[in-house]
């Protein structure tokens, strides 16, 4: 059979790194092929080259046996190649349907397209409202938009760069069903994920990259995840130690009857939210994204303030009205879900991005930025969290997704906060680094800090949290002790009020 896609000796270097070093691989029609590797191994770079969004320095690409010259995304789309980027490529200021219309050939009939999107997305278990502005969507929702956009085109080759990083388990199950269906119809799929169980469940073959080179191939369904992990990392995985928690007598972070209107007409209204996080424990907030997490986290971090100070207590002190900077002064740190543009300034160097939140840790003296100390701080984060980067001078946008995530998490953890808010702590981080980050969160809490983790990944929450909360439709459930609950109960709580989704769709249809 003629391969759908064949790469011959693709090489690509960036200043200071060889991202792809003579990479060859071939994928048959209908094959689901995984590309595995640590953060910074060169996976995204390779995908961008296949899609034509980046140019290889040398090497050849064949599609259905024909060599692709002068490559670019438009050519890809005309050949039936579609890609979901790791860092989404959506236009923020226009609506979902307008975004998709830009990528779809031919029709600009927005009304019809919107209906199509709604039907298709509901069928795939990834409901999206076609009329919302992308700007207002959470990353989970954006990921659904990206996937639906690609599926609408009935592609011949579908590239998915970490498509499930912020999807709920239910959506992942449906997505896999869809992907298998597509594959059985002859569509080839390239699948990148750090979640090895997904890879084993879905993929027929796998290519493993390390430092830009192909280091092996595997049949995931016939290998154990330990074998796969070892091929990727090349060493043993760290083991998690979760010692029992010893919560402080008084909560360090307390929310009392917090209600807040939605950010905009599509946001979620928070209703009477109460929760407590004690020092020494990790509390997880589970929920389908778009159920009020963004609003709650913005109110907790101080990016948005609340007129009633006493609804949010930090260390017992009424803080609802305090700005993000003032809350940080009280010992709070925060890892947001968007890493580019919120957690980090994309064109700025890593040392500058260290100053962003670490300026209180002695990086600013006499109102001047101390570049040497900022550089040292960045270097410490890079070393401790094994961030693959070209030193403190590298710009944030030049880092691979997982490495930037490690840097941001590392920066906030290095501040040794008393209260830490984390959204999606291990989004896009490889197995080794994810275990390290989780361990560090546990250690931080055991040293007395209060940690609140917002995640859609139930496995992660169950691994590290002491208590779990479920948010749905702007309401937060009473706390559940992790050891006394299970995935089914949480999953039920998440979806039971899952009519949050449908409610919003109805609103959208009304106006």
């Amino acid at each position: 059979m003629i391969p759908r896609l064949e790469l011959r000796s693709i090489t690509k270097s960036y200043p200071g790194t060889v991202a792809n070093d003579a990479v060859s691989l071939s994928i048959l029609p209908g094959e689901i092929h995984a590309v595995l590797g640590e953060n910074g191994a060169g996976k995204s770079t390779l995908m961008k080259i296949i899609y034509g969004a980046a140019q290889a320095d040398s090497g050849e690409i064949y599609c259905d046996g024909r060599r692709i010259e002068a490559h670019n995304p438009a050519i890809s789309r005309s050949l039936g190649i579609e890609m979901v980027y790791q860092h989404f490529a959506l236009f923020e200021s226009v609506s979902v349907v307008e975004n998709i219309a830009l990528a779809v050939k031919g029709t600009f009939d927005l009304g019809r397209l919107a209906t199509e999107i709604e039907a298709l997305s509901a069928r795939y278990g990834m409901p999206i409202d076609p009329h919302r502005r992308v700007h207002d969507l959470s990353v989970g929702e954006r990921q659904r938009v990206e996937i639906v956009r690609c599926l609408l085109q009935s592609p011949k080759l579908l590239i998915l760069d970490e498509p499930t990083s912020v999807l709920t388990p239910q959506a992942v199950v449906k997505l896999f069903g869809t992907l298998r269906q597509l594959a059985s119809e002859g569509c080839s799929i390239v699948y990148i994920s750090h979640k090895l169980d997904e890879v084993q469940e879905l993929c027929d073959t796998a290519t493993v990259l390390r430092n830009g080179k192909v280091t092996g191939t595997a049949k995931p369904k016939e290998s154990t995840s330990l074998e796969l992990a070892r091929m990727m990392v090349g060493s043993q995985l760290p083991e998690m130690h979760v010692s029992p928690s010893a919560p402080s007598a008084k909560p360090l972070l307390e929310v009392r009857g917090l209600s807040a209107p939605a950010r905009d007409k599509y946001g979620t209204e928070l209703t009477d939210v109460s929760l407590e996080v004690h020092g020494g424990e990790i509390v997880g907030l589970a929920g389908v994204s778009g159920n009020g997490q963004a609003e709650l986290i913005a109110l907790l971090s101080g990016e948005r303030t609340h007129p009633r100070a006493e609804t949010i207590l930090i260390g017992g002190r009424p803080s609802g009205h305090l700005s993000a900077g003032e809350r940080r002064k009280l010992g709070m740190a925060f890892v947001p879900e968007e890493r580019l543009g919120r957690g980090a300034v994309p064109p700025h160097a890593l040392w500058e991005n260290a100053v962003l939140t670490a300026h209180r840790a002695g990086l600013v003296r006499n109102a001047l930025v101390d570049r040497r100390r900022a550089g040292d701080f960045a270097r410490r984060v890079i070393e401790r969290f094994k961030v693959k980067a070209n030193g403190p001078q590298a710009s944030a946008q030049s880092l691979s997704g997982g490495n930037l995530q490690k840097f941001i998490v590392g920066r906030e953890l290095t501040l040794e906060p008393k209260i830490l808010l984390v959204s999606q702590p291990t989004w896009g981080v490889d197995v080794g680094a994810a275990a390290f980050i989780r361990q560090t969160l546990v250690d931080l809490s055991r040293a007395g800090a209060a940690v609140l983790v917002v995640s859609e990944e139930l496995d992660e929450l169950f691994e590290i949290c002491d208590r779990l909360l479920v948010i749905s439709n702007g309401r937060v459930s009473p706390p559940l002790i992790r050891k006394q609950t299970n995935r089914e109960e949480i999953g039920l709580l998440m979806t039971r009020v899952g009519h949050g989704e449908t409610r919003r769709t109805e609103v959208a249809l009304e106006d």
Partner: protein, 354 residues
């Protein structure tokens, strides 16, 4: 054959240096063609544009004299521009600064006091800042668009100046000309040499350049402003107040423009008249961008802009070129300069053919 535009992986260091050189070469080329087509000798015209004006000590003095306010104002404006705060009303802030400084100079009880110059300096800076505080307040509190407000305030400032020199401040001994009395000697900068007009106010500009460099490159406040400009969500995430960027950006521009206005009345002008600035406040916006919002670049940009002003006058006087033609030529140069920047971030590629 089709060319493709491609974003560079990272800004090209060679291009950063080559861009202005290429732009200059292209300008000379395009200018020569233009002049020749209209029957002027290209070489003589270029010479009259760029060399003749600064071929004498007086020429050099005029060059620096005109560059100084441009550089000073551009430094102030660039502080705001880096944070996406668009103050385009420096012209108005300059006028208000000049009015306040002149008022102090004219009406201070002791016209021989050595305190006059410092007081006028403070009045100019304060008035410029006060004028810029209006859009800052409106933007920070009511989220009005500072581009509109600063621009509209410029018209108000111009009319206020016109009212003063036609009415209450008109020099009673001035044969009804719309101008104020001359400032007393103690209220004026003493020129380095009475044959030329250059005066010590250029030191103010020099200090401003250093402060601007320190502020944007080293200070924490400058850092916060650059974060606000590059990623507003990150600024909010870190807890940097947007309003502080708005205030700092607008007040820096207002202060610089106000001081420039003071230096004009206390320097070459010596009095107020309805027309006190040949558009320094607007030209400084271009200077800030030619200089890539960077202190050193702004110095070069100011010198170039000032030379273009002088050269334009010279060719009109010596070769009789129409004013419109000189404007076109100035436009060509600025166009090429700003357009060449494109190639720092992008490149053209020929698709490789099979």
């Amino acid at each position: 054959m089709r060319l493709r535009i491609e974003q560079r992986q990272e800004p090209s260091a060679q291009m950063r240096i080559a861009a202005p050189v290429i732009a200059t070469a292209l300008t000379f080329l395009a200018g020569s063609v233009l002049f020749a087509a209209l029957g002027y000798d290209p070489l003589a015209t270029l010479h009259a544009f760029f060399v003749a004006p600064i071929n004498s000590i007086n020429g050099l003095s005029e060059w620096l004299l005109k560059a100084s306010p441009l550089i000073l104002i551009a430094c102030g404006l660039a502080v705001g521009f880096r944070a996406n705060i668009w103050n385009i009303g420096a012209e108005g802030q300059l006028i208000i600064g000049a009015i306040a400084a002149c008022g102090v100079g004219l009406f201070y009880p002791n016209p021989e006091s050595p305190l006059l110059i410092p007081l006028m300096f403070l009045a100019g800076a304060g008035a410029g800042m006060a004028w810029a505080a209006i859009p800052a307040f409106l933007r920070a509190r009511m989220n009005t668009n500072e581009i509109l407000v600063t621009l509209m305030l410029t018209y108000i400032a111009t009319l206020l100046l016109s009212f003063l020199v036609h009415g209450p401040w008109r020099d009673p001994a001035g044969f009804n000309y719309p101008q104020t009395a001359l400032l007393p000697a103690a209220a004026m900068f003493e020129p380095f040499d009475y044959s030329y007009r250059l005066n010590p106010s250029i030191f103010i500009t020099a200090v401003a350049v250093v402060i601007m460099w320190l502020f944007t490159d080293r200070s924490f406040l400058g850092y916060k402003m650059s974060v606000s400009g590059a990623a507003p969500l990150a600024a909010r995430y870190a807890g940097f107040r947007e309003s502080s960027a708005v205030w700092t950006g607008l007040l820096a521009g207002g202060a610089a423009a106000g001081i420039a206005g003071m230096a004009e009345v206390a320097g070459p002008l010596g009095q107020l008249s309805p027309q006190i600035s040949p558009g320094y406040g607007f030209a400084a916006i271009i200077v800030a961008f030619i200089g890539r919002l960077n202190a050193f670049g702004i110095v070069l940009g100011g010198l170039l802009m000032s030379l273009l002003f002088l050269g334009g006058e010279t060719v009109q006087m010596t070769l009789g070129l129409p004013a419109a033609l000189t404007r076109i030529f100035q436009g060509i140069l600025l166009f090429f300069l700003l357009a060449a920047d494109f190639f720092i971030y992008y490149r053209l590629r020929l698709p490789e053919h099979a």
